[in-house]
C-alpha cells in the first residue's frame, strides 16, 4: 500500500525525522490560508501517488500567500502526467504547502528489504534527488549499504558508519544517526516495504531535513496496522482494481491490452499473459482468481473483466489443483445468464473435476471455445480478437 507524501511526512515527524513545516490544502483559498500561517515563501506540491511531479508541472514556488493561492488554483484539479503516471495522468485533489528550504547538499536515504540478505538494509547515497536505480547503474560505488541484523536490531554504530560514509560528520553526526535510527524504527514498527527519503537535504544553515518522502507498506501486515490502512486513498487506485478488491479478488491488475484473462495461480497468470504476447496479442489484465470454491467469484471476475471497455475476448486458463474445474464452469454459466457477456470466451481447463465442468458448459449451451493446452488457448484468443 502507498500513501501520500504529506501522510508519509506526518509519520516521519512522529519518528523524529525532521521535515519542513507545512500543511496540506484541498482548495486554493485554503492554500492561501496555509501560506499566510506559515508566513514564509512556500513550495506548493501536488499530492498524488506517483513520483516525477516536478517534471509534469506539479510543484511550484510561491513567495506570497497570493502566489500560493494562484499556484494551488493551477495545480488542484489538473491532470498531472509524470513518467510514473502513464499517459493518462492523475487528477490532483490536494497540495502540500511547505516552507522553502535553502539547500546546501542533497542525499538519498532508504530502508528496504534485501531478499538475498534476508533482512532490512539501510541504503544511503551522496547523490540525492536522482532515482536510486540511476545512481546504482551509473555509480554503484556511490551507494553505501548497511545490513541490519534483525536479531539485534539497529545499532548506533551502523548509523555512524553510514553517516560518515555520506559525509555527515561533525555537527551533523548526532542528528544524522538519530534520523537514520528513526527511519529504521518506522520501517520495522509499521511494517514498511520501503521507507525512502529522497532527497534528504543539508540546509544552508546546517540542518538535516527530509525534503521528500515515500513510504510503501506490506499488504500482508495490514491486519495489525489499522492506523496505516486508514491512510489509504482509493481515489489514487484504478477503479476496476478497487472494485475487484471489494469483491474479494485481490490479485487483479489492469493492463492496456484487449484479451481479458482469468487464471488460477500468480505464476500461471503471468505465464498466460506471456503466452498471449508470444501469440501476437496483448493481455488486458493480470488476474489470479486463487482457490475457487464459489461460482460467484468467477461471476465477479468476469464482471470486472467485461467492465473494461478494451476487452474483446476472454481467456480462462485453469489448472485445477486446489481450484475445481466444475466450480469455474458453473461460474461461467452463471455469468452468461447474469452479465450477457457478448465477448467470446476461450477456455483451457485441466485438473480436478474436469468432466463435470465440461458437462455443465455443454448442458447450458454456453459458447466457449475449448483449447487443449496453453499455447492453443493463447492462439485461439488472439484469433478471436482479430476476427
Amino acid at each position: 500500500m502507498k500513501v501520500h507524501e504529506f501522510q508519509a511526512k506526518e509519520l516521519l515527524a512522529r519518528y523524529g525525522v525532521p521535515v519542513p513545516h507545512g500543511r496540506v490544502a484541498t482548495s486554493a483559498s485554503e492554500a492561501r490560508q496555509v501560506a499566510a500561517e506559515l508566513g514564509v515563501p512556500t513550495v506548493v506540491k501536488a499530492q498524488i501517488h506517483a513520483g516525477g511531479r516536478g517534471k509534469g508541472g506539479g510543484i511550484k514556488l510561491a513567495s506570497t500567500p497570493d502566489a500560493a493561492e494562484a499556484a494551488a488554483r493551477q495545480v488542484i484539479g489538473m491532470t498531472l502526467v509524470t513518467p510514473q503516471t502513464g499517459p493518462e495522468g492523475r487528477l490532483v485533489r490536494r497540495v502540500l504547502l511547505e516552507e522553502q528550504t535553502a539547500i546546501a547538499r542533497e542525499l538519498y536515504l532508504a530502508v528496504l528489504i534485501d531478499s538475498s540478505g534476508g533482512g532490512p538494509v539501510i541504503m544511503g547515497s551522496a547523490a540525492g534527488g536522482m532515482e536510486i536505480e540511476e545512481v546504482a547503474a551509473a555509480h554503484p560505488e556511490a551507494i553505501h549499504r548497511v545490513a541490519v541484523d534483525p536479531a539485534a536490531g539497529f545499532q548506533p554504530f551502523e548509523g555512524r558508519e553510514l553517516a560518515f560514509a555520506l559525509g555527515l560528520g561533525g555537527e551533523l553526526l548526532r542528528p544524522a544517526v538519530a534520523l537514520i535510527a528513526g527511519l529504521y524504527r518506522l520501517f520495522v514498527e509499521k511494517d514498511c516495504s520501503l521507507a525512502e527519503v529522497n532527497p534528504l537535504v543539508v540546509t544552508q544553515d546546517g540542518r538535516l531535513v527530509a525534503l521528500d518522502a515515500k513510504l510503501n507498506f506490506d499488504d500482508n501486515a495490514a491486519f495489525r496496522h489499522a492506523d496505516i490502512v486508514a491512510l489509504r486513498d482509493v481515489e489514487e487506485e484504478d477503479a476496476l482494481e478497487v472494485r475487484a478488491q471489494s469483491e474479494g479478488i485481490n490479485n487483479y491488475v489492469k493492463l492496456d491490452g484487449d484479451i481479458g484473462c482469468i487464471v488460477n495461480g500468480a505464476g500461471l497468470a503471468m505465464a498466460t499473459m506471456d503466452a498471449i504476447k508470444l501469440a501476437g496479442g496483448e493481455p488486458a489484465n493480470f488476474l489470479d482468481i486463487g482457490t475457487v470454491n464459489d461460482p460467484a467469484r468467477v461471476v465477479n471476475a468476469l464482471g470486472i473483466i467485461t467492465a473494461d471497455a478494451n476487452v474483446k475476448a476472454i481467456l480462462v486458463n485453469i489448472f485445477g489443483g486446489m481450484a475445481r474445474v466444475d466450480v469455474i464452469a458453473q461460474g461461467v454459466v452463471d455469468a452468461q445468464k447474469q452479465l450477457r457477456a457478448d465477448v467470446p470466451i476461450v477456455a483451457r481447463l485441466a485438473g480436478t473435476n474436469l468432466e463435470e465442468g465440461l458437462k455443465l458448459l455443454s448442458d447450458a449451451g454456453v459458447r466457449v471455445e475449448m483449447a487443449a493446452d496453453l499455447g492453443e488457448a493463447a492462439r485461439k484468443a488472439v484469433a478471436a480478437v482479430k476476427a
Binding site: 532490512p120 487464471v263 500468480a266 503471468m270 480436478t352
Partner: protein
Amino acid sequence: MSILVNKDTRVLVQGITGREGGFQTERCIEYGTKVIAGVTPGRGGETAFGVPVFDTVADAVRERGPIDCSLIFVPAPGAADAVLEAAASQIKVIVCITEGIPTLDMVTVKRALRGSGLTLIGPNCPGVIAPGECRVGIMPGSVFSRGGIGVVSRSGTLVYEAVDQLTRLGIGQSTCVGVGGDPIIGTTQREVIEMFNADPETKAIVLIGEIGGVAEQEAAEYIRASVRKPVIAFIAGSTAPPGRRMGHAGAIIAGNTGTAAAKKEALAAAGAVICDSPAEIGATTARVLRERGLL
C-alpha cells in the same frame, strides 16, 4: 533417490483441523504420505483422518517419536510462530504452505533458522512432492510421474503446468519443489538446484522463475560454476509492467531490477536452455534430453 522427502518420511501437519489443512492432509494420506501426527492448539487428544492430534509440536514429538518433516497450514498471522515451533523441536524439513505472512515475520524466522541445519521450504508455496512416494503439499498428485527431472519453481500452478507437459511426453520427475512466491523464503532456487545437482536420480533440472528480485541470477551463478546436468529455464512475467505486484508479493519489477529479460540473460550465460513459451517447457526439455542422449 528423491531430495528432501521420500517414502519413509514421517510427517506432522500443523493446522490439521483447519478446512485447508484437513482437505490437504486427506490428499497426502491418499497419496501414500506417512502422516503420523497433527497439531492444533486446544484440540490435543482428538484424531483427524485417523491421525492423532496434539496441542503442541513438542507433545507430538514426545508421543510419536522422531518426526522428519512438518507441513504447515496455520493462517498467516500465526504462521511464523508455527515455523519456529517446528524448528524448536528440531524438525529437519519444514514446509510452510501459508500465503500472506508479513515480510518482517519471515525476516525473524529466517534469522532464527540461520545456522540451525534445518530446511524451511516456502512460505506461500505448493510444497514438495517425490512422485509415487511422498506428497507434502497441495499439488494435484495425478499429474506427477516418477523419473529423472528435478523441478524447482517459485510458482505452484506453473509446477503443475510444467509437470503436466513433462508427464504427457513420458518424462518423469525425481522431486518437484515449490520454493514460494514471497520476498523472503526459507530455501532458494539455488539451494534446491544444489540438492538436485548432488542427487544421482536427477538427470536434468527444470527451473521456473519469475520477475522480481535476483534469486534466478544467484541460481545462474551456481549453475555456471557447478552444474553439468542440463538446466531448462522458463521465467514468467516478460509482459508484466514495472512497479506492479503480480499476485506474488515477490513478483514485482523495481526500477530496472528483477526483469524477466535480465534473468533469462543470466541463465543463458550460465549455460541453461531458455524456454520463452510456457507452453513449450515439456517439448524443450524433451529436445534437450534427446540432444544430450538422456532420452
